[in-house]
């Protein structure tokens, strides 16, 4: 009888926690892109979905350096190597049904920025200083099915 009760409790806990566990794994789409003020105005075809966010900036030429899809869980830190040798870390700080919080850390610049965005929103974060008219950016969007 006790075993049956214990087994039922375990099943109940599993049923209740399964959705929570499922939510903890969040698929994200991450890119490292380069913006340049030099050269003719041009944008890689793969970056056209970022046009609304990138067009207000002073950079006229945009190229994609890396393109990754990862699954992040709450508290997990992902590291990315920039073409200029710097490192940038990305951490999923919080995840809610309609919004998510990321923290971007730039060790070389001692920058910690935490951003909470709505579902389907994309973060575009400059991750390097401007050099010779060019700079690197990191873009991250959750639920990559959206865009």
């Amino acid at each position: 009888m006790r075993r049956r009760i214990a087994f039922a409790c375990v099943c109940l806990v599993g049923i209740v926690s399964a959705p929570a566990l499922a939510r903890a794994e969040v698929p994200v789409h991450i890119r490292i892109i380069k913006g340049s003020k030099n050269g003719p105005a041009k944008m890689d075809d793969s970056l056209l979905v970022l046009k609304k966010q990138l067009s207000p900036l002073a950079y006229v030429q945009w190229t994609q350096e890396t393109d990754e899809k990862r699954t992040m869980s709450k508290g997990k830190i992902e590291f990315f190597k920039l073409p200029n040798g710097d490192d940038v870390s990305l951490q999923l700080r919080d995840e809610q049904p309609d919004k998510v919080t990321f923290e971007v850390v730039l060790l070389a610049r001692k920058t910690h920025n935490k951003l909470t965005v709505e579902r389907g929103q994309r973060i575009v974060h400059q991750v390097s200083g401007e050099k010779d008219g060019s700079a690197f950016f990191l873009t991250v969007i959750v639920w990559p099915d959206a865009r």
Binding site: L54, P56, L57, T101, K131, I141
Partner: protein, 165 residues
């Protein structure tokens, strides 16, 4: 004499008015009867005078009011009278039907206002896809600038000094 009685109504007839037989009888009688011949001559002399006189009298009279009165009776009016009558009839109609006219006018004004608000105010009300998403930002470390767009935030770093990265 009996011939004159029979022929007299034919005197003064216009050419082609009489049948051929009566025209031959008239001509034959006028050749033999001086009295009928004189009568025919008087008719010929006065032919058209009555018509001309009537026409002159008609031209001398102003028939415009007559025309207006007749057309008014049949429903057609002169432009000047029509304009005066239209204004009066519209006001009269509104006075008579104010219970219907006032709510109808009010409803028309309300509909126009609603339509203007909904379709004319699109320059003021943002489209849903242009709405800026909610954003919470905590920045620490070196200065950063956040641009908010409808697709999400753009975070820019403060310009470097001379060193760059």
């Amino acid at each position: 004499m009996r011939s004159c009685v029979r022929i007299a109504p034919m005197i003064g007839s216009r050419p082609g008015e009489l049948p051929a037989e009566d025209a031959r009888a008239l001509a034959a009688h006028l050749e033999t009867c001086a009295a009928c011949r004189a009568l025919a001559a008087r008719f010929e002399a006065t032919d058209g005078l009555v018509a001309e006189a009537l026409l002159a009298r008609a031209n001398a009279r102003d028939f415009a009011p007559f025309v207006d009165q007749v057309m008014a009776r049949v429903g057609h009016r002169s432009p000047r009278a029509a304009a005066r009558t239209d204004r009066r009839s519209l006001l009269d109609a509104l006075r008579e039907r104010w219970r219907i006219a006032v709510p109808a006018l009010a409803a028309a004004v309300v509909l126009a206002a609603v339509g203007t608000f909904m379709y004319g105010g699109e320059h003021v009300v943002a489209e849903p896809e242009q709405r800026l998403a909610s954003l919470e930002v905590e920045l620490s470390g070196e200065g950063s600038i956040v641009l908010q767009t409808s697709d999400g935030p753009v975070v820019l770093l403060a310009p470097d000094d001379d060193t760059g990265s």
